[in-house]
Subunit: 138 residues, 3 copies
């Protein structure tokens, strides 16, 4: 069994944004030389997300508006967590979007559907954060 | 290490529905001859879901009503994504329900709890779509 | 390839609560002697959750309030599932929080970010339930 590990770092200049990371993850799959296996891609932070969806700006704006409706950022004092912090909404938003994705590797490639793209979702940016990619297989 | 891959195709006649796929996935586990390992089951489409919950019609109706409350289909023009498309709500609904499940395989069988059943959740049907099952183990 | 399986049992005295299980899961990783691999941690019940977030009481209270807003427990008769049961809300809440987490194992340890903690989320307690930990790797 082979295993491979890589960290992917971000420093997003806004509080919230979505960044497509599929091309980077593809290069990791090549580097790993794993032909058949599973790839885990997770954020290592609890106010961020890794998820799969469409690479379409209109939809990303819909996600932003929708997440603000389900878990509004303000007023900050609506959340007990916001004593020293102001990011309780980011914990909730990331819960909706998910922490991680698991993707099959087949014939040495990411086994994704035609429109599936991997995103890093930042909900409390302006600081350095990272995503973990772990691959096991043969 | 063994690996196994199978696609499971659907063409759902309604816009939304839930289909239990546990029996089919069980046959794939047998075919794979993997005794100890992990099984990934994910939709390959971004307006559909694979999730685990109860095989109970009343609950499925509750899910339908609840998802329509959290991410209503109409009016279509409430979503920026709905220029050429009308399925923005399906992207949001699938986000709530999840893209994938990972299930342990133990003694050659799906290692599920007593009420756990695997479902394909369609949120933008009337077209051919597929689920990927990937197994690795020994 | 090595594989390891363990069940972790709970009997929560309230209807809803969050229990940090990171220390227990760490001992399973040690017992498994897997150095590089993947760990699956999932609830085996469809009204409970395993998720990763912050070990902070204020945030847990925010989650409780937020989940009650998104999927209220009462009135019970708002849900079709609640004929003989009263736990439809628990199925919905667990869907938001997620069934499972997959975590990398690197150098024989859980490969978590600095604030990541694993929780068992109970949404329909007062009965015995369990979490499955499955590890594969080398």
């Amino acid at each position: 069994m082979k295993s491979y590990r890589k960290e992917l770092w971000f420093e997003i200049s806004q509080r919230r944004s979505f960044t497509c990371i599929t091309p980077t993850v593809r290069t990791y799959v090549e580097e790993s030389r794993v032909k058949e296996g599973l790839l885990l891609c997770n954020t290592m932070h609890i106010t961020a997300s890794v998820f799969i969806n469409d690479n379409e700006t209109g939809l990303h704006n819909d996600f932003e508006k929708w997440l603000e409706k389900l878990a509004p950022e303000k007023p900050y004092n609506q959340y007990q967590h916001n004593g020293y912090e102001d990011n309780a909404d980011a914990h909730l938003k990331r819960t909706i979007m998910g922490r991680e994705v698991v993707i099959a590797i087949t014939n040495g490639k990411l086994d994704l559907g035609p429109w599936e793209e991997i995103f890093y979702g930042e909900f409390d940016g302006k600081r350095r954060k990272r995503v973990l990619v772990k691959i096991i297989g043969e």
